[in-house]
């Protein structure tokens, strides 16, 4: 029972990892790539770690896997936000097909003095 749940989660996780990496290769600019890659790989790796918990049960490996899920869930969106902000501030243009750029509109009125 528990092993079957582990297989289900590990298949979901590896599917998300593959879709995220295909997005990382195929999408046109840095912001699109960041969106696809970060969402899919966070969910994919968290599902793989959860499947570790279902495979081995509640021992030292499983508890460390749950701890690692917590770390990945905290750190991955933070680093994605930092990269997106850094890319926008270092002047990388959006893809020509992009329809709006709210962050540039927001920055116009409140340009900081850094």
């Amino acid at each position: 029972m528990s092993e079957a749940a582990g297989w289900v989660f590990i298949i979901i996780g590896i599917t998300f990892d593959l879709v995220g990496c295909i997005g990382l290769v195929r999408l046109p600019d840095i912001y699109n790539r960041l969106q696809a890659a970060t969402k899919c790989v966070t969910l994919g790796t968290c599902m793989i770690l959860l499947s570790v918990f279902f495979f081995v049960g509640l021992n030292s490996v499983g508890v460390k896997a749950l701890l690692c899920i917590w770390f990945v869930l905290i750190t991955s969106p933070t680093s994605a936000h930092a990269i997106a902000r850094a890319a926008h501030r270092s002047g990388i243009r959006l893809w020509v097909g992009s329809v709006m750029d709210k962050y540039a509109d927001d920055k116009e009125g409140t340009e900081d003095t850094a």
Partner: protein, 84 residues
């Protein structure tokens, strides 16, 4: 389990392609960040196979160190120092 490891290696090679080709520096930073997350998943699958907690220790420390490295690269790209 071997199939899962091979598929993860395929993902890692996709990331390495983006590290090599990526036209701008943030592209390479994103690819390195995702590469770190994939290595965490690889260590997790390997700990299922061997049932040892050594590999989960590697996964946790890899996740934290890769987070700090990505933040440092993002701050560097932004052109700021670390205490701002």
């Amino acid at each position: 389990m071997t199939v899962i490891l091979v598929l993860l290696l395929l993902c890692i090679f996709c990331c390495l392609y983006r590290v090599g080709k990526g036209p701008t520096a943030p592209d390479r930073t994103v690819a390195i960040d995702i590469l770190g997350t994939l290595v965490v998943g690889f260590c997790a699958v390997y700990s299922i196979i061997t049932k040892k907690d050594l590999y989960m220790n590697i996964a946790i420390s890899w996740a934290l160190v890769s987070f700090i490295g990505t933040l440092a690269l993002a701050k560097y790209l932004e052109g700021r120092s670390f205490d701002e």
